[in-house]
Amino acid sequence: MRLECDGLKYTYPGSEAAVIDNLCFSMTAPGFNAVFGPSGVGKTSLAKLLVSQANLPASRIFTSGLDRILYSYNQERLPGWSSTGKHLNKVCPPGKEALKKKLIDIFKLEPVLDARFSQLSMGQQNRMNLIRYLLQEFDLLILDESLANVDEALRETIILAIKAFFPEKMFLYISHNLMEVAKFCRDILVLSEPVKQKGSFMVKGRDYAHGYTLDKQAFDASMLEVMDAF
């Protein structure tokens, strides 16, 4: 499994400045990886490029073992004509009912399965949206702020559960939460603001899994390294 960019450049039509310029990085194993950086540095643009341009002949994005890339983001909505529970049942592929049940339990969404999507809180909406993606077939799932508005404790539970349930899949987690990224991600792609002309860096996170013991010194070092790169 490999996700690699070599000299990726992208400029939006009508714009003079490239939002992504000469980006090079490589992620070579399944697991929880991250893209980190301030707003406007091109994290979402990179995610959309990965989905649309991976494996195209002239692309600077190279993949192997990533045939199915899905991109989820935090503003997605479920159709409002049926309850969220019915919607999950409808999009749940055959044979994944048990996984769906477990995820609903871990994501603490059981009490709102009869509610319409618009009746959920923003955190519940994001969790509901994430569940339906996790039920699909994918090799790489990009989570663009997919756990925004979810409280910290539950976010940690969810991330650890995802890591435990999908050890063979690759995740690319886009977040603004430095502690979370440094704690749970293995490879962290740090994008800095173009004005700083620092480019991009790969930093190793702590990649903690279920039942971890926090090594405070190493964790601080990872956070400092990310901060320094950004």
Binding site: E76, L78, G80, W81, V91, R116, S118, Q119, N129, Q136
Partner: protein, 255 residues
């Protein structure tokens, strides 16, 4: 909603009538030019029943014409929602035809089809079809990305689902446009009847016009206004019921 429509019409009608009576008073015009209240009431008593049946006759053509327009607008709107060659062609054609006063084509229709039911129906349909089509095209051609993304990404998107999502997200707009098109269809039918038909309230207004019977025309306008207000109110209520049923969970409140 139904009552609001009716009393709004009554306010507008009374204001219009008061203006006419004001002009009559200021310019000291005779009852022959602008009838007084007693003459209007006397005429109302004489012609109301006949006019009411005429309005129902017109309304039946209007409803049928509107139904045909809605079916056609949704069919063409759904077919033309894609940014394909055919879709672009339909959009450009609809915009251009909509800019043309369709009622000006009425004489051609009467020459070709005669002054019967079909001519009235065709004009009523044509007048409300193009504004409806533009609205449906606008709704159906605009992706609801935040909802559609998942279905496209996971390969589940079908045209029926796409149409359902876009219709659901724009239900208020669609019901408003459908209710509004009732007025257009009614206007189209009345104009058609006025020009050359042999039935309906437009035909009765033409007779009243040739007799310089302004009181009769005022009574006709009153009945038309009340009936169309009730019809539009019923359409809006129906639209609201559809929204409530589709949006809210069973036994729940509409958010």
């Amino acid at each position: 909603m139904l009552f609001r429509r009716i009393y709004q019409f009554l306010i507008v009608y009374c204001l219009g009538l008061a203006c006419l009576l004001g002009i009559k008073k200021v310019l000291t015009l005779s009852d022959y030019v602008i009838p007084g209240v007693p003459l209007i009431l006397e005429t109302a008593g004489r012609v109301s029943q006949g006019y009411l049946f005429d309005v129902f006759n017109t309304l039946s053509v209007t409803i049928l014409g509107q139904v045909i327009s809605i079916i056609m607008a949704f069919t063409v709107g759904i077919l033309g929602r894609k940014s394909s060659w055919a879709g672009s062609f339909i959009k450009v054609m609809a915009y251009n035809i909509q800019a043309y006063p369709i009622v000006a084509l009425a004489p051609i229709i009467f020459i070709l089809l005669g002054d019967g039911f079909i001519s009235r129906l065709l004009i009523a349909s044509m007048i409300c079809y193009f504004p409806l089509l533009l609205s449906v095209l606008g709704v159906m051609a605009a992706p609801v990305k935040d909802i559609e993304h998942f279905y496209i990404a996971t390969g589940r998107m079908r045209w029926q689902l796409e149409v359902k999502i876009r219709a659901f997200e724009n239900l208020s707009k669609l019901t408003t446009v459908i209710a509004g098109s009732a007025t257009l269809a009614m206007a189209g039918t009345i104009v058609a009847e006025f020009i050359a038909a042999n039935a309906g309230i437009g035909y009765s207004i033409r007779i009243a016009l040739y007799q310089s019977d302004l009181a009769g025309i005022l009574v006709a306008l009153f009945i038309i206004g009340i009936v169309i207000s009730i019809y539009q109110g019923m359409l809006e209520t129906l639209g609201d019921q559809v929204k409530t049923k589709w949006f809210a969970p069973k036994g729940g409140e509409l958010l």
